[in-house]
């Protein structure tokens, strides 16, 4: 699919929504209302670009905790996110059971994931296997950080996908850090994408601050997978614009210079500038979109804060299927 003007504006709005919603969660954290926040800031272009190439509700998404912008692109609402952040009973991810940003939405084919990094990736290969067994037309997309690529599970999952040419897109969001551990202590190579050759499918490096480039690479991988030609590993070079999470203090391991330098590569600024230059966005429309997005976020915040917490009597529910035969 060729991206139209409208698509670009949608993508812009999604990126902005993700950013501003994310900023709101930090505010709530500082106010003591949200005990834990983990951010997508700096990954918005990569995430929107990738998710925009998927068919929501048809394709399958096996994300990780940093994927707020992916969720919003697939159909999650700001309220959905806020309910999870505040651990409310109606949180669609888990009813307040999981930590914030542990996404799940059955109707949207967004698969529940956990905290142990990388353990979601084998599930994506299994879904790919099931798609192939059934002869369905869907593809499955899964994501993980570059640090997580060190886990054995990621290797095993890519290997299986390579054997059966499964319709899986492996999306590595490389922001150069696993909490405090820099990439050079994580692996002896520059590009995670180079590993794909060891599994028999293509690996592609894209600039994760360029939403259009990421979209195009992902769209190509999706088409390849739908044609039955097998998996692709896409590595998006991203920035982590915040601390790892609200429990982290990145100043212990990132220099002030570095923190300053990454600010200048903000993917939102980059895309805004591009749309302005192309005449797709102007000051007025920019302001209007921002206001609409903020209104959504404000409403979501209010509603989520008012929403009830889970009833402690539900603690023992859903350990096993209920009302069994």
């Amino acid at each position: 699919m060729q991206l139209e003007r409208d698509d670009l504006l949608k993508m812009y709005r999604l990126m902005l929504l993700a950013r501003l919603l994310d900023e709101r969660t930090w505010q709530l954290n500082r106010q003591g209302k949200a005990p834990f926040v983990i951010s997508c800031q700096g990954h918005e272009a990569a995430q929107v670009g990738a998710a925009y190439a998927l068919k929501p509700g048809k394709d399958w998404v096996v994300p990780y905790y940093r994927d707020l912008a992916v969720m919003l692109t697939i159909g999650f609402t700001p309220l959905d996110h806020m309910l999870g952040l505040l651990g409310r009973a109606d949180d669609p991810n888990s009813g307040g059971r999981q930590m914030p940003s542990h996404y799940s939405h059955r109707k949207l084919n967004i698969v529940t994931h956990s905290s142990p990094t990388g353990s979601q990736v084998p599930h994506a290969s299994g879904i790919g296997l099931a798609i192939k067994m059934r002869g369905d037309d869907a593809v499955v997309w899964t994501s993980f950080g570059e640090g997580t690529s060190s886990q054995g599970d990621v290797h095993e999952a890519m290997n299986l996908a390579g054997v059966y040419n499964l319709p899986v897109i492996f999306f590595c969001e490389n922001n150069g850090y696993a909490i405090s551990v820099p990439q050079k202590k994580q692996m002896g190579i520059e590009n995670v994408a180079d590993r794909a050759a060891g599994y028999g499918f293509p690996g592609v490096v894209v600039d994760g601050t360029d939403v259009i480039q990421v979209y195009e690479a992902t769209a190509a991988a999706v088409e390849r997978a739908r044609r039955g030609e097998g998996p692709t590993l896409i590595e998006a070079k991203c920035l982590r614009l915040t601390a790892h999470s609200s429990d982290d203090n990145e100043r212990t391991y990132r220099s002030p210079d570095e923190l300053k330098a990454i600010r200048s590569q903000d993917p939102i600024t980059r895309f805004t500038d591009y749309l302005m230059v192309e005449g797709i966005l102007d000051e007025a429309s920019q302001k209007r979109i921002r206001e609409e997005v903020m209104a959504q976020i404000n409403e979501a915040t209010v509603m989520a804060e008012r929403a009830p917490l889970p009833d402690p009597a539900t603690l023992e529910r859903h350990v096993y299927a209920e009302h069994e035969a």
Partner: protein, 327 residues
């Protein structure tokens, strides 16, 4: 009614479920042409093809992890772990993932899958082809743990497990595979998960067991009967969820309990049985709760004298019964 051994009964149960439900498939090492190293899946690849009887790569975490994904997609995988000893590389997928997906999604997702694995010793398998691993999994809420000990139960339980909406660990004592034969009806039937079975009635003491030690207990009970002591032998069949009522009723009746299992004694499955009994029917007990179990060494050695020293046996169980009868 045809006679079958344990292994054939399991195969028949799987075969019938695969014929009836296209979503059911098998994945594991050597399960295809080789039919599994114990031949449990023999012939199934010819019948159902290579995409329903999948020879997986040699990697247990992806065997289980991919099955979890497929189950969430709507399939009904039967994952085979070649020996229970090799289940540990998949431990994270089983305990952190399969067991928690329903709970963590507040009931939105489920993982209807079976993980089959041969366990147990007495076959010169040494440290890594002899272990009992059920205690690790029976500790985990969200998992079901089944151990069949007769061909009839095995077929009925494997079918119930494949149909079950939750992840089931299905452990088959490999020494029983060809040792134990029994009548298995041709008609469709199930043995429900979560229901124990009194395999022998008796009034003087209760023995709780499963697997090879169940059969040793039954043999020992015969010896004791000749000596005038009537032992009730309960086959747990399911370790999680536990059929507490059958057990507690038996203890209420006999007042004495011996627990027999092959796993290492310390924190083996029998520990929980003792804890439940000493908490819930304490006032009915007429003597200590005794255990006969595997030695507390890392796992049973290869060389016959050492293997024998490790393993519970009919003699060791009968000796414990005599001691308990003395109270």
């Amino acid at each position: 009614m045809p006679e079958m051994n344990l292994l054939e009964a399991i195969r028949a149960g799987i075969d019938e479920m695969m014929a009836a439900d296209e979503r059911v498939y098998i994945i594991g090492e050597d399960v295809g042409k080789r039919g599994g190293v114990f031949r449990v899946t023999e012939g199934l690849v010819d019948k159902y093809g290579e995409m329903r009887v999948i020879d997986s790569p040699l990697a247990e975490s992806i065997i289980v992890g991919s099955s979890i994904g497929a189950a969430m997609y709507g399939m009904r995988p039967i994952a085979e772990i070649q020996f229970a000893d090799f289940i540990f590389p998949a431990f994270n997928q089983i305990v952190s993932e399969a067991a928690r997906i329903r709970y963590r999604s507040n009931g939105a997702w489920d993982v209807p899958m079976v993980i089959r694995a041969p366990f147990g010793g007495g076959i010169h398998g040494a440290l890594y082809h002899s272990q009992s691993v059920e205690a690790f999994f029976a500790h985990v809420p969200g998992l079901k743990v089944v151990v069949p000990s007769t061909p009839y139960d095995a077929k009925g339980l494997i079918k119930a497990s494949i149909e079950d909406p939750d992840p089931v660990l299905f452990f088959e004592h490999k020494k029983l595979y060809r040792l134990i034969k029994g009548q298995v009806p041709e008609e469709d039937y199930r043995v429900p998960i979560g229901v124990a079975d009194v395999k022998r009635e008796g009034s003087d003491m209760t023995v709780l067991s499963y697997g090879l030690t169940l059969h040793q207990s039954l043999e020992a009970a015969e010896q004791l009967s000749a000596e005038g002591v009537e032992v009730e032998v309960v086959d747990l069949r399911t370790l999680r969820p536990l059929d507490k009522e059958t057990i507690l009723n038996s203890v209420r009746k006999t007042g004495k309990v011996l627990i027999a299992y092959e796993d290492n004694r310390f924190l083996g499955y029998g520990a929980e049985l003792a804890a439940i009994i000493s908490e819930e029917v304490f006032e009915h007990l007429d003597g200590p709760i005794m255990r006969v179990a595997g030695a507390d060494v890392p796992a049973m050695p290869f060389s016959p004298p050492l293997e024998e020293a490790f393993m519970p046996s009919t003699e060791k169980i009968a000796a414990a019964m005599r001691e308990l009868a003395g109270y």
